[in-house]
Amino acid sequence: MNPLRLRTVAGALAASFIMTSSYALAEDDISQLKQQVDELDQKIRVLQRQRELEKEAAEEKQKETPTVSSGKDGFWIRSADNAYQIRIGGIIQFDSHWYPDKTAPIGGTADTLILRKVRPVLEGVFLQNIGFRLMPDFGNGTTVLQDAYVELKLDKAANIRAGKFKPPISLERLVLDSETEFVERGLPTNLAPNRDIGIQLGGSVLADTLSYQVGVFNGVTDNSTADADTNDAKDYLGRIFAEPFRNGSSWLSGLGIGIAYAYGVQQGTVTASNLATYKTVGQQNFFVFSTGAFADGERQKIAPQFYYYVGSFGLLGEYIGSRQKVTRAVNQKSEFDSKAWQVNGYWVVTGEDASFRNPNPRRPYAGTNPGLGAVELVVRYGVQTIDDSAFAGSATTRLADPNASARQARDAGIGVNWYFNRNFKVQLNYDQTDFDGGGPGGTDLRSEKAIFTRIQANF
């Protein structure tokens, strides 16, 4: 073989061997690399998954961490599962009372600035169904325990409340004190208790279209609050309130109608009468029992009531009839009847929905977003009538002096409310009350004219 050809063949063989070896080596490397890539890929996937799980665990843990929050409803401390909750809130009402007509006796009170309500509120829930509320009041220069009760929330249909709170008689009384549309409530509340101590079963049924309360209370003097009973007998109260269309979207969905009834025995003495003095909405007395008269037996009340809200408009009305056995002179026991009714109308001019609660401004005033809030116009008319028999008899036997106490008071009021936001509002009311009787020589008392203002903060 030609040496040149031999070298050529040998060279070709060597090149071929080298190339084959290199290819085999590359395949091993690739396989090894692929394995390493797979392992790295798995490690990366595991790390990513572990991060996911850690994130999930952190989110779960977050759910178990108690929270402290503050907002329009006050300051809250809540356990992670909401089983334990405490709220700290409060109401401050700075009012002014102006009486343009100073003619005595009605209107003779001095114009004044007052702190009407100064109420810190502490309330909470334990174990999801045990609630409590504590609310003293330092307004009007006095200290009164307004609300102090515990509540066992067995079910939406059955809550037991025990302590001091509003007995369920007057519908306007049941409006939250921070959410009254008028600076002072109307005449019917003269015939209903303010706060009383008792125990009450209440709840709502039929998809919340029917609510009820039944309870036993000490039985306080009308329009007042007390911390103990003065006799052994108790007052028995019941109320039902129906909103049959509330779950629909018809124009009747804001209609509520109900009735309350109370029966009890009130027992006073010559020196502690347990009888109420009736006030105008201007907070001045227009009916006072004669000295020596006192509650002496059964007392009954009946109170049909309703409200109706549609769009920006609302109406609230109620009637309270009251009968109380009263004694003045020895063996002169008689039945004292009084009745009162009123209708309130509301119009939220800025278009928010009217409801049993204050309107929620669409454009609230806030530090960063100074909206105008909501404006509401309100109007009311109410009448309280005392039965003529209260004025019958001699000066020593009659229950009231017709020359000092009126037989009827008729209140007409208008007002404007400016809700800056859910926590701050300003109110202006004008009320005029006309009277039958009560003046000297059988004349009528001079009409009361009252301008009331309120600046309120609540949280």
């Binding site: 996937r45 998954r49 665990a57 599962d81 999801q128 998809a207 039902i240 129906a242 009946i302 039945e335």
Partner: protein, 336 residues
Amino acid sequence: MSSISRTLKHAAAVLFAVSEWGAFAANVELLNVSYDPTRELYQEFNAAFAKQWEAKTGDKVTIRQSHGGSGKQARTVIDGLTADVVTLALGYDIDEISARAKLLPAGWQKRLPHNSAPYTSTIVFLVRKGNPKHIKDWDDVAKPGISVITPNPKTSGGARWNYLAAWGYALKNYGNDEAKAREFVAKIYKNVPVLDSGARGSTTTFVERGIGDVLLAWENEAFLAVRELGPAKVDIVVPSISILTEPPVTLVDKVADKHGTRKVALAYLEYLYSEEGQDIAGRNFYRPTDAMIAAKYAAQFPRINLFRIDEVFGGWQKAQKAHFADGGVFDQIYQK
């Protein structure tokens, strides 16, 4: 007061009118707190029961579902989640609800047939398509280099069944030698790169995140994965021995009584034993306890040599205390 008397009469008329509303059909709501992989089963079952209940009583029933690791779910009920019924992965978790929260009597498991387990299942392996790591039995799962996906037995009922299935296999394979069984199970958990809190989480890890060579899975969960992914993605491998899992159901008496749902809740659980309930279980790859329905689905399920927890571990209380309690065997062998 004649005016008051008149008003009372009017009030009575209003009350009478109001009482007419009582004729409305009731809307009832139940909460079923269940374990991880039962979502699909109860979605179908709830719809069937609601339809049947409305036809029978006229009442509408809405059943809300809550799912998670069985142990974790039991703790949420103990902590106050108001379940009308619980349908958990294992009896021990319901025993805990009974013992700690006193929401149901201790003898709850005797109230319904088959120890309150309307369906059963077992533990199988889910592997990548073609079984590239040649995993055929528990021994393969314990080999070095095999990546095993199983949830955390501290929070997941399914994970406890997985663990006990492996332990039971080892005991049978090594002549009831507890030390060797412990060593065997330790090897498996050495191969576990990540512990999810529930079975559904582990399925996500294996199927969606692509992690691991084998998923220790409920049989129903494995079938579901194959159905969802298609047979081109994963294979089911049936081990030579596994454990018979009996997920129990029960009424949470105090909650149901408080909600006024005892009657409908009991009917709900009893309907699981009905022909339709059993059929739905079979369709969702649970093994029906009713012989007739079980026969219908017999071809669907592979034949496996199954052992019961009572036979090997003396029941859930003993197994829990020895293996899964704090400081138990699992804590000792799984140290990451």
